[in-house]
């Protein structure tokens, strides 16, 4: 069976990719996707761990977090749409009226 390290490696890679995306991307939607990457990397961890544990808490946890991620995406997109309505763009670099 696949050793745990590989899962963790995968998860960490995903996490890193997500972070990289967060640093580099301007587009709101892409940022949302990066965030999803982060969350799901965590989910992979959870599931993988729980596979090596007697209990299933990890998978339960993963289910919860998936649901929450969905809700979060909902809220996020709502905000982005509203933004788009007002600003006509979702390029987040231009949205920095409040600073310093």
């Amino acid at each position: 069976m696949i050793p745990l390290e590989l899962y963790i490696l995968l998860a960490s890679t995903m996490f890193t990719i997500g972070l990289y995306g967060l640093f580099t991307q301007k587009n709101g939607v892409k940022l949302m996707m990066c965030i999803e990457l982060l969350l799901n990397s965590a989910n992979i961890n959870l599931v993988a761990f729980s596979a090596y544990q007697p209990n299933v808490n990890g998978q339960v946890f993963a289910l919860f977090s998936i649901a929450l991620a969905a809700a979060e995406a909902g809220v996020g997109f709502a905000i982005l749409i509203a933004l788009y309505r007002l600003y006509g763009t979702i390029d987040l670099d231009n949205i920095n009226a409040m600073r310093w």
Partner: protein, 498 residues
């Protein structure tokens, strides 16, 4: 397992039901804003009563030991409920028309989320509650859909999601290490086998909570959001969800990650020092009052974070008789101080933000200047005497001038720092609170020493009631701290191995 067994949780239950009810009713009946307001206010009062009914309850566990009702949770629940109540009261004179139901419902959900966090001893429930609170507040931050609102909400959302993602990742590592999601098990495991993964987990968790607590450098969202969100929501964020971060951090870091004491001692020493200094420095130059308050609450978070350092430093110190109530340790004193400051700060900040809400709501819509600009506060003493006076007291309280809640909190907290030998930190904190006077006095002198900048302001009932209540609470705690200190002590005891 009969119904009354869950009595300690009726508060949460009530609010959840109420929230749903509010949404339903709101969608059924037109312009029911006022009613919703009264409903949620009543619900909060009831919940407060329920929580208060067993204030210093012995720790009792529910739902497969994932929820623990104890003095600590009750303390924070009271804080959250009081804050929400004040916000609701204030909101009742602002959100009356369409959409009010959603507003109040979200507010109630957020409250429930915080309450859940405050009493969860299992990382799953903790995460769920955390997200519940966050999601509702994301929505609230955008509620008025003005440009600023949306920018604020956007930043808050992105930063928050990232942070919670970090936290989740950290949790996953913890689970992997411990094989359990119960904090106690995690504590045991981390004491047993201690790997670098645990350190990563710790830091990721700190990121998650630090985001809520707005510790530098996880604070970046806070100024923008507090400035941009609807003022009353800012109140909720600064006073409520920020404190949620603290309670979560207390439970997870102090209990679960006790093995990494030295690490988080280091981490929080740095974070606390950074936070209070940068917060105060940045606040000096702001012209937007809400931004000033935002930075000030960042600084306050820095003070509160001292508690972690104190605990780390005084960990395992032999029980010595610090106070005249049985053997109590410096770390307990520290946490108690933090709790007092949390309570005080929750009140002061709620009050202050409600005050800004009142002022900005009276700035004519077509005026070019930013409604929260400090110039709108010139001569407030004449234009809105009650508000000005309350704000005055809140400013002095935040600056830690006796006899106010803010003073008592700082008093106990800093004294604990001295007691556990962290003189450098105490000195830094004190220099900071001196520095903070620069901007507090600036606001005060605008309100009281400048000539009036505009016509008299109409002080709506809701705002005034909320302000005065807060004022009374702040002063009351300052003058008769005894009860609160004892309470905080008991709450703190929960976190520490007896």
């Amino acid at each position: 397992m009969e119904f009354s067994h869950y009595a300690p949780l009726w508060g949460e239950a009530l609010l959840t039901i109420l929230a749903v009810l509010v949404v339903l009713l709101g969608s059924l009946m037109k312009n029911s804003g006022k009613l919703m307001g009264y409903l949620s206010a009543a619900g909060l009062v009831a919940a407060l009563a329920l929580v208060a009914s067993n204030l210093t309850i012995k720790p009792t566990l529910f739902f497969f030991d994932t929820i623990s009702v104890d003095a600590l949770s009750q303390f924070f629940k009271v804080v959250f409920l009081v804050v929400s109540l004040l916000v609701v009261i204030a909101s009742m004179s602002k959100y009356t028309g369409k959409g009010a139901d959603e507003y109040f419902a979200l507010l109630l959900f957020a409250t429930v989320g915080m309450m859940v966090v405050s009493s969860s001893v299992d990382i799953i429930t903790l995460f769920v509650g955390f997200e519940l609170a966050s999601l509702s507040t994301y929505a609230l931050a955008a509620f008025d859909r003005s440009r600023k609102n949306l920018e604020a909400a956007m930043k808050y959302f992105i930063f928050g999601s990232v942070a919670s993602a970090f936290m989740l990742f950290g949790f996953s590592l913890l689970y992997g290490m411990a094989g359990s999601t119960h904090l106690v098990d995690i504590a045991a495991a981390s004491l047993a086998n201690f790997g670098p993964a645990t350190l990563v987990a710790l830091l990721f968790v700190i990121v998650g909570f630090g985001f809520k607590m707005a510790l530098v450098p996880f604070h970046m969202w806070a100024p923008d959001t507090y400035e941009g969100a609807p003022p009353l929501v800012s109140a909720l964020l600064a006073a409520g969800s920020k404190k949620m971060g603290f309670v979560a951090a207390f439970r997870v870091i102090l209990i679960a990650l006790v093995a990494l004491r030295m690490e988080w001692y280091m981490a929080f020493a740095i974070l606390a020092a950074l936070t209070m200094t940068l917060g105060n420095l940045a606040a000096c130059w702001q012209n937007n009052v809400r931004r000033i308050l935002a930075y000030s609450s960042i600084a306050q978070a820095g003070y509160i974070a001292i508690a972690f350092v104190v605990v780390g430093a005084a960990y395992g110190a032999m029980p010595v008789n610090v106070l005249n109530m049985g053997p109590i340790r410096a770390d307990q004193l520290g946490i108690a101080g933090a709790l007092l400051l949390i309570l005080g700060h929750a009140l002061m900040k709620t009050g202050a933000f409600i005050g800004t809400a009142l002022v900005s709501s009276n700035v004519s819509k077509e005026s070019e200047t930013d409604p929260d600009d400090i110039s709108n506060y010139a001569g407030l003493a004449k234009r809105a005497p009650i508000t000005a006076f309350c704000m005055l007291i809140f400013m002095f309280a935040l600056a830690g001038i006796p006899p106010t809640a803010g003073y008592i909190g700082k008093f106990v907290l800093f004294s604990s720092a001295i007691y556990s030998g962290l003189v450098w930190l105490a000195v830094l904190a004190i220099l900071n609170s001196a520095l903070s006077l620069v901007y507090y006095l600036r606001i005060i002198s605008y309100m009281y020493l400048k000539e009036a900048a505009g016509p008299k302001i109409k002080e709506q009932k809701g705002y005034v009631v909320a302000l005065v209540l807060t004022l009374l609470a702040v002063v009351w705690i300052g003058v008769f701290p005894e009860a609160f200190i004892n309470w905080a002590m008991q709450a703190a005891a929960v976190l520490l191995p007896q």
